[in-house]
Amino acid sequence: MKLRSSLLTAVGSTALAAGCQGNPFPDPPVHIIQNMDFQQRYEAQERNDLFEDGRAMRRPVEGTVARGEVHLKENDHLYRGRGPDGRLVDALPSNIVDSAALLARGEERFNIYCSPCHDKAATGHGIATTRGGGFQVQPASLHQDRLRAMPLGYFFDVITNGKGTMLSYAAQIPAEDRWAIAAWVRTLQTHGKTKGWDETTGMTTVAAAEPAAENGAQKDG
């Protein structure tokens, strides 16, 4: 009898402990072989107490140019959205082609980075602005006449440097994607609030046809 009951307890407690599998627990999992699991090198975003701020990753020196951005200085169009005269441009940089692929990319990126506030149709009623008391400044509708008349470079500039209460997205979005988003904003503006474009029409630069664009560019340039 004693044997049976101890067997029962053994089986029972095993089953119980096995049932704990997957339950949340707050303490770090056991690492038996410490020096293999945590070798003497640092990974991205790891902690290093040697430095005052505790970051193992050091900040790049002011003015550092990322690898691949070699033509940063020369390529004002690609990286700043400005032409040789220092004014905002109304065309895509030469290495980016207006194509269905670009617009698809732009749509995807717009929905990731902009739609939380501006919503997918760019009317300025994104979900984040409706929660927790709402935004102090409502995001702009990108269909206003004022913005419809802006050159393409203006949208690139707003994403890169922010505008008013909207902060810069330069750290989150690479320059090429910012142009794709700008192209998609233009597509939304010209083809209505819904996706009314088809792949043959592509992005249309309304601003190019309207002289108002020049004024807008001057004001902000």
């Binding site: 402990a17 096995a18 599998q21 997957g22 339950n23 949340p24 627990f25 707050p26 303490d27 770090p28 999992p29 056991v30 690492h31 072989i33 293999m36 699991d37 945590f38 070798q39 090198r41 990974e43 991205a44 975003q45 902690r47 701020d53 505790g54 970051r55 995807e108 929905n111 990731i112 980075y113 939380p116 506030c117 979900i127 984040a128 602005t129 929660r131 927790g132 008391g133 709402g134 935004f135 102090q136 400044v137 209460t165 909207m166 902060l167 997205y169 750290a171 989150q172 979005i173």
Partner: protein, 240 residues
């Protein structure tokens, strides 16, 4: 003369013969179950310095993972966002919330927010997010339903056997390339837990909306793919 070995000792060899192997098997099973990462690691849920909720941000508000983890498609490491990313919104909403004090401090002083790391492979294993995302493996396959977690917990063991299970047969885990961050795509993919199985028996499990699509998705015929994924199974693929 009394026997040197009393009679009961005759049973010792028999007992050893029977119990020894049993104990051996028991020990193996014990280590197998309790020392495996699916027991020791799954469910690790450290307390975070800011009560940031993926359930609220990624689930209810539907923010895309890449809004914050924006390097995941380009780099090995899926960056934990800097305070500036939070401040995009939190300079506008919940601006005085005490829960966000560490984020505001970090934004103003440049001190990092001391997030506690949840998923961590040993340093001798090589893992890179970008080829997985490019191959159409969803975040949910490896991190579970993050959009339902108030606090992030480990959902999968991240053990070598687990990596290889998928690498040997990735097909059931592949999805269209634009659905990678969609948490509810092909809900039925994740392995059934016992509870799910019971629910299914009882007929109370909610049918997944897109389960049908998942069943019909054939990655070999997806025109978006320029090449078929070839996950490494040789040691040097992950131990380099």
């Amino acid at each position: 003369m009394p026997a040197i070995f009393p009679r009961w000792t005759n049973k010792i060899p028999l007992a050893l013969g029977v119990l020894g192997p049993l104990a051996g098997v028991g020990l193996v099973l014990f280590v197998w179950v309790y020392f495996s990462p699916s027991f020791t690691d799954v469910g690790y849920r450290p307390e975070q310095p800011v009560p940031f909720s993926h359930k609220l941000h990624a689930g209810e508000m539907g923010l895309d993972c890449r809004y914050c983890h924006n390097t995941v498609e380009r780099a090995a490491h899926a960056a934990i966002p800097p305070a500036a990313t939070c401040m995009n919104c939190h300079s506008q909403v919940k601006i005085d919330s005490p829960k966000l004090a560490p984020v505001r401090r970090s934004y103003n002083t440049g001190e990092p927010v001391p997030w506690v790391r949840v998923h961590q492979l040993p340093d001798f294993a090589y893992f890179d997010h970008s080829p997985h995302i490019a191959a159409g493996v969803g975040c949910a396959s490896c991190h579970g339903r993050i959009d339902t977690m108030t606090v992030v917990a480990m959902d999968q063991p991240l053990s070598m056997g687990w990596c290889l299970d998928c690498h040997r047969n990735p097909e059931p885990h592949l999805r269209p390339l634009d659905q990678v961050t969609n948490m509810s795509w092909g809900d039925s993919e994740t392995e059934d837990t016992m509870i799910d199985a019971l629910r299914k028996l009882a007929g109370t499990s909610a049918p997944a909306e897109t389960a049908g699509e998942q069943q019909t998705y054939n990655y070999r015929e997806d025109p978006e793919r320029t090449r078929l994924p070839e996950p490494p199974v040789a040691c040097s693929g992950c131990h380099r």
